[in-house]
C-alpha cells in the first residue's frame, strides 16, 4: 500500500464561476419524446432507466411529442399559461415591494413556474400539498386570493396568519396548502404521514410534497422515502432540482455522482426525471404518479430538472457565485415562452392574446396590491392586534402566557 498515492479529499466545484462565460454545452439531454411511458402498475425496477434520463414532451419547435404527451385540451393549456404569467407578475411586484421597504423578505420562483402550475392542474383540487417556499404557484393555480398572499407578505392586520411568519410562509387548509416551514425538508415526511392517514381512512385524496435538490441531504428526505416505500403511501415526492441551493451548486448535494431521481431506486420507488421547464412533461409525470397513488400502488419520486433563474431570495446576489446570465444560457429555456410557442403552433394562442393576458395579470396584481397595501405594509399601517401574539401557542392559553400578556400590558 505504501507505494500508492496518498489519499486526498475531493471537494466538488461547479464548472463555471463569476467571470466565466455560461456554458452548458457538455450537458447531455435526450430528445423530446425519446423516453417511453410505462404502465402505472409496472414494477419500479423495470423503469429504473427513467431516473437517469429526462422526460420531455415539448420539442424545440414547440411540438408535443412522444408517449408522455398528456394531450391536453387548449383550454387547460391556456389556463396554465395564464397562471404562469400571473405567478411571474406577482413575483416581480412583491420583489419590488421588498426593495421598496414594504416588507422584510421575498422569494421568487422565476423559471420554475411550470412545476407548481402544471402539478396543480394534474392534481385534484382536494389533494393535499406540502410545499416548500417556491410553490406559490399552487396557491395561485387553485385560486387563492392574491390579496391574502400579499397581506401575509406585509404582515398586516389582514394577514391570515396574523403576522406570525416571515413573508411567503403561507398557510391554507381550505386550499389544501400546508403551512410552510422555515425549516427545510420537514414537510416531506409530513406529506407521507398525511397520505398514510388518507389511506388509513379509506379516503381518495392523495398528498404531494416538494423540496429542493439541496434539501435532499436532510434526514427528512430519507424518512419520507422510507415511510412512503414501507407503507405504500399515496403521495408524490417532488424534488425540484434548480441546480442551486443559495450559493451552493447541486454537486454538493450529490448531483455529481447520480441524479436525484435515482435516489428512489434504492427504496423501490418509481423514479421519474422530468424537464421542469416543460409544462406538458411535468403535467404528464404528475398525472402518472397520481393515478398510480390512487390505484393503491404507492408513492413516486419525481425530480424536476430546472434552473433557478434569479437569486435565492431578496437577500441573495447570484452574481457573486455563478456566471452572469447563466439563466439565459439554460438550454431548456423558459417555461412560459415554451408553452406560449406550443399554443401558438396549435393555433390556439397569439402574441396579441399573450400581451392582453400579461396586461390582465398585471392589472390583477396591481389591484390586489392596492387593496393589500391599504391594510398596511410591514412597519406602517395596520398590524394584527398585539394581544394575538400570545394566542395559538396552545389551544387554550395557559396561566403563564396569560400572565406574560398582562406584563405586556395588552
Amino acid at each position: 500500500m505504501k507505494n500508492r498515492a496518498p489519499l486526498s479529499l475531493h471537494i466538488p466545484v461547479p464548472e463555471h464561476r463569476p467571470g466565466d462565460a455560461p456554458d452548458f454545452s457538455d450537458l447531455k439531454l435526450p430528445e423530446a419524446g425519446a423516453v417511453a411511458c410505462p404502465k402505472i402498475d409496472a414494477k419500479p425496477r423495470q423503469m429504473s432507466d427513467l431516473a437517469f434520463s429526462l422526460i420531455r414532451v415539448l420539442d424545440g419547435e414547440g411540438r408535443a411529442v412522444g408517449e408522455w404527451n398528456p394531450k391536453l385540451d387548449a383550454e387547460t393549456l391556456r389556463r396554465g399559461l395564464k397562471h404562469m404569467l400571473l405567478v411571474r407578475v406577482f413575483d416581480d411586484r412583491m420583489y419590488r415591494a421588498q426593495r421598496q421597504g414594504k416588507t422584510s423578505f421575498y422569494m421568487k420562483c422565476t423559471g420554475e413556474e411550470a412545476i407548481a402550475i402544471a402539478q396543480a392542474a394534474a392534481l385534484e383540487p382536494t389533494d393535499m400539498c406540502f410545499p416548500s417556499y417556491r410553490q406559490q404557484g399552487l396557491l395561485i393555480a387553485r385560486g387563492y386570493p392574491l390579496v391574502a398572499m400579499m397581506c401575509q407578505i406585509y404582515s398586516n392586520a389582514q394577514d391570515p396568519i396574523k403576522g406570525r411568519q416571515l413573508p411567503i410562509m403561507y398557510s391554507s387548509r381550505e386550499y389544501g396548502f400546508f403551512t410552510i416551514s422555515g425549516n427545510l425538508g420537514t414537510q416531506l415526511p409530513q406529506a407521507v404521514g398525511w397520505a398514510m392517514a388518507s389511506a388509513y381512512k379509506g379516503d381518495d385524496r392523495i398528498a404531494a410534497g416538494w423540496i429542493g435538490e439541496g434539501t435532499t441531504a436532510e434526514g427528512d428526505f430519507h424518512y419520507a422515502c422510507t415511510f412512503a416505500s414501507v407503507y405504500r403511501a399515496p403521495v408524490i415526492l417532488n424534488v425540484v432540482n434548480n441546480q442551486w441551493a443559495i450559493s451552493t451548486f447541486q454537486g454538493i448535494a450529490g448531483g455529481e455522482q447520480a441524479t436525484f431521481a435515482a435516489r428512489g431506486i434504492g427504496y423501490g420507488l418509481p423514479a421519474l426525471r422530468v424537464d421542469g421547464n416543460d409544462f406538458l412533461a411535468v403535467y404528464a409525470a404528475t398525472r402518472w404518479a397520481a393515478e398510480r397513488a390512487r390505484a393503491n400502488l404507492g408513492a413516486t419520486l419525481i425530480e424536476h430538472y430546472t434552473y433557478r433563474a434569479e437569486g435565492h431570495s431578496t437577500s441573495d446576489d447570484p452574481g457573486r457565485y455563478r456566471p452572469q446570465d447563466e439563466a439565459k444560457a439554460w438550454p431548456l429555456g423558459d417555461p412560459i415562452a415554451r408553452l406560449k410557442q406550443h399554443l401558438i403552433l396549435l393555433g390556439e394562442w397569439s402574441d396579441e392574446q399573450h400581451e392582453t393576458a400579461l396586461k390582465e395579470a398585471q392589472e390583477q396584481v396591481r389591484t390586489a396590491n392596492k387593496e393589500a397595501e391599504a391594510s398596511g405594509v410591514l412597519g406602517s399601517g395596520s398590524i394584527p392586534s398585539v394581544k394575538t401574539m400570545f394566542e395559538d401557542v396552545y389551544k387554550e392559553m395557559p396561566w403563564h402566557l396569560r400572565r406574560q400578556r398582562q406584563q405586556m400590558g395588552v
Partner: protein, 337 residues
C-alpha cells in the same frame, strides 16, 4: 376494580381510546405484533388490526414527522419512542414542527399527537437507557409535558393527553412500570398490586393536564417531584420524620403554579427532586418560579436534589440515582435553616 401495574394501565388507556375513537392509532419500533419492548401495546394489533397498531422503521424522526402529517389530516396518533434516550433524531420535528404548527398557521393546522416514551434510571440501563430529558421539552413553547407516577394517573393522564388538542410529550418512569420504587434498591421489589393507586377503572376516565396532586400533606417543607421521584420523596419524608408536603406535579408544562404557591406559602421551605442532570434541569425552572412567587415566604434556600451533571454511568447506578438518603439530607438542611 382490577389491580393494574403501570404497563397494564397504559395499555388499558390505549385500548379504551382505540375502541372509542377511530382516529386514534399507535405505532412505534416493535410496538405492533410484539407489543413493544415494555409490552405497553401488547395485544392491541390483534384486537384492533394491523393499521391501528403497527411496527415502525427505526426512525424516530420519520415516526414523529409522519405522525404530525397524520395529525394535520385529523387523526390522533400516539407514537411510542422505545427509550427517551432515542428521541433526539425526532427532536427537530418536535421543536420546529409539532410545537409550532398551531402558532405559525394561526390555528389553521394543529398537531394533536402524543409521544409516549419510557425515561429515567434505576434499571442498570447505562447512559443510553436511563436519561431524563424532560427539560429539553419544557423549554419549548407549544409542547405539553406530562409524567405520571402511578397506574391510576398513567391511564388517566394518557387518555387526557390523547384527547388534548396540543402535542404532548408523555414521559413514562420505566423504573416504576412494574411496582413503586422508593430508591431502596436493597429492599425487596414491591408490586403495584399492594398500592392503592393500582386500582384502575376499566373504562374511560381522563385526568386533566395541568393539575398537580398532593401526595402527602405537611406543614414544614414542600417537596416538588414527579415520576419515580415522588415515591423516593415520600419515603424520604417518612425517614426524615419531617412534616413535609409532597407534591406530584404530573404535568410539567403547563405547571400547576397554584398548588405550588399555596404549599410553599404555607411551609416557607422547598426541596425540588428530579433524576435529570442538575444544570438547566426542570428543577431550575421550579426554583425560579418558587422564589419569584414566594420570595417573601421563604425561610431557607430552595434545594435541588438531582442527578449529577454526568451521563448515567452503568457501574454507579445507585451512586448516581438521587435516592432517599440524598433527599433526607436536603430536607434536614432546609429545616436547619
Amino acid at each position: 376494580m382490577p389491580a393494574m401495574n403501570m404497563i397494564q394501565a397504559l395499555n388499558s388507556a390505549l385500548d379504551v381510546m382505540l375502541g372509542r375513537d377511530p382516529n386514534v392509532l399507535t405505532f412505534g419500533e416493535d410496538a405492533g405484533y410484539f407489543g413493544g419492548v415494555f409490552r405497553v401495546t401488547d395485544g392491541l394489533q390483534k384486537k384492533y388490526g394491523l393499521t391501528r397498531c403497527f411496527d415502525a422503521p427505526i426512525s424516530e424522526g420519520g415516526m414523529i414527522a409522519t405522525a404530525i402529517g397524520m395529525a394535520s389530516y385529523g387523526l390522533r396518533p400516539v407514537v411510542e419512542i422505545q427509550f427517551a434516550d432515542y428521541i433526539y433524531p425526532g427532536y427537530d420535528q418536535i421543536v420546529s414542527e409539532a410545537a409550532k404548527l398551531r402558532y405559525r398557521s394561526a390555528g389553521d393546522f394543529t398537531a394533536p399527537l402524543t409521544i409516549r416514551t419510557p425515561y429515567g434510571g434505576g434499571i442498570f440501563g447505562g447512559q443510553t437507557h436511563s436519561q431524563s430529558p424532560e427539560a429539553l421539552f419544557t423549554h419549548v413553547a407549544g409542547l405539553k409535558t406530562v409524567i405520571p407516577s402511578t397506574p391510576y394517573d398513567a391511564k388517566g393522564l394518557l387518555i387526557g393527553a390523547i384527547e388534548d388538542d396540543d402535542p404532548v410529550i408523555f414521559l413514562e418512569p420505566k423504573r416504576i412500570y412494574n411496582g413503586p420504587f422508593d430508591g431502596h434498591h436493597d429492599r425487596p421489589v414491591q408490586p403495584w398490586s399492594k398500592h392503592p393507586a393500582s386500582e384502575v377503572p376499566d373504562g374511560h376516565y381522563a385526568i386533566p393536564l395541568g393539575k398537580a396532586a398532593v401526595r402527602r400533606e405537611g406543614g414544614d417543607v414542600t417537596v416538588l417531584a414527579y415520576g419515580t421521584m415522588v415515591h423516593v420523596a415520600l419515603a424520604a419524608a417518612e425517614e426524615a420524620q419531617i412534616d413535609a408536603e409532597v407534591i406530584d406535579l404530573r404535568t410539567l408544562v403547563p405547571v400547576d403554579i397554584e398548588a405550588i404557591v399555596a404549599s410553599v406559602e404555607k411551609t416557607g421551605r422547598c426541596v425540588i427532586v428530579h433524576e435529570a442532570t442538575r444544570t438547566s434541569g426542570y428543577g431550575a425552572e421550579l426554583s425560579a418560579l418558587v422564589q419569584e412567587h414566594c420570595f417573601w415566604h421563604l425561610e431557607a434556600p430552595i434545594e435541588r436534589v438531582t442527578g449529577w451533571d454526568t451521563p448515567y454511568p452503568h457501574a454507579f447506578e445507585w451512586q448516581y440515582f438521587p435516592g432517599p438518603a440524598r433527599v433526607v439530607d436536603a430536607l434536614r438542611r432546609v429545616m436547619e435553616r
